[in-house]
Symmetry: C2
Subunit: 235 residues, 2 copies
Amino acid sequence: MTVTTPEMPGLHPVGDTARHIPPASVARLTIYLRALNSLLAEGIERVSSEELADAAGVNSPMLRKDLSYLGSYGTRGVGYDVQYLNRQISIALGLTLDWRVAILGAGNLGRALAGYSGFVSRGFEIVAIFDADQLVVGSEVGYLRVSAVDDLETVLERTRTNMAVLAVPASVAQELCDRLVAAGISSILSFAPVVLQVPPHVQLRKVDMSTELQILAYHAQRAQEPDLGPISRAQ
Amino acid sequence: MTVTTPEMPGLHPVGDTARHIPPASVARLTIYLRALNSLLAEGIERVSSEELADAAGVNSPMLRKDLSYLGSYGTRGVGYDVQYLNRQISIALGLTLDWRVAILGAGNLGRALAGYSGFVSRGFEIVAIFDADQLVVGSEVGYLRVSAVDDLETVLERTRTNMAVLAVPASVAQELCDRLVAAGISSILSFAPVVLQVPPHVQLRKVDMSTELQILAYHAQRAQEPDLGPISRAQ
DNA sequence: CAGTGTGAACGAGTTCACAGCT
DNA sequence: AGCTGTGAACTCGTTCACACTG
């Protein structure tokens, strides 16, 4: 909801969490969260927008704008309480809820994800990991035992999974994605290098490692081209 | 830079490759490339903007706009030649150059990346993989042998590496990043969950798996909230 | 005609300057 | 005095309609 008619200036509805945070802002809020955690680990209790912005790699007006979508959690003339701001951002992002994640695919990537401490430390619990290979099923990954992908629906239900990560080959990604959706999972993170089709109510995000390298290649190419003329590089 | 005064309408400088493709457009071009490769594999030789847009998960005006930054590579009334367009996008993105990639970290993630076929098939050659653990150094990953991170500079030079991927713990990421930069690497893709500081001439991209889950959590939370502001419509 | 290529309108995201608290 | 919070200007990205072409 874009507030086209703001409430009377100066009167701010306390306790109201902002609706509709712009996507770009949500992405940055997760970075602030990380920066705040680092500061907390260093024993720092208070920061100014300038300091936090530096730690997060953005400029301070942007940081303040982003935080303003959540509410007014700073103190003018002073700054922000690290712990308190951390908590408020967590609440706004929904990280205080109970997220139970299943990983599909117990290859190198799936195992890397299962062992990634960043998940657990941010409130995500990994409750299941699946594989299609019978030689892998039953083996241990961290403190989990690999389940057979044949038992997908049963295990998802038993573990009360509400998020899934696809770390499987492109060839089976759409099929498994469909089964996840049919099983009621509506938040999916995919590492498979294909465009997946999902119904509109399902949140699908994609991480694509080769896309990232390609974007780097584009910029590197431009950097190394010495030319600047209007015409270059044909064919 | 930005063409505010377009050349006379209808007169298009042939052979001129577009300068300054918007970042959002570059990201989508890599998706079109993937879609084109799929079509090629299916033996399809010609597509309309509508078909290609569907395959890539965008709408057709956007696809045409993106392609127009590169030049006019379609045929009006007909569509695009799959192979030719594939090649033109590859050239525009700099994928026809010689990209030699080193992976830092031979843990699960590093090994997953080393074995990822999507890299090689898009013109990236993985030329080295490093680890700090002496037990891992010397072991085989794919057709590569793990190098000691102590030999970083020597090996980077010998292999003529021009891109690096950081798949190491957060605690050593900045230090290794600095060494890469000092060794002349100016394109770095990081999977480490920290904000890295690099000089302005270095292209740094970040892939953050826990950020992605957090963004999912935000949307999922909003979807499951029964409340209704006057306007809902997520994303 | 069918489908591309693009100028122009529109809307989202970012920057900035400064008002308003503490 | 100092730093936050935010309207307003601005920039960038997306959508759209249609002129243009094979």
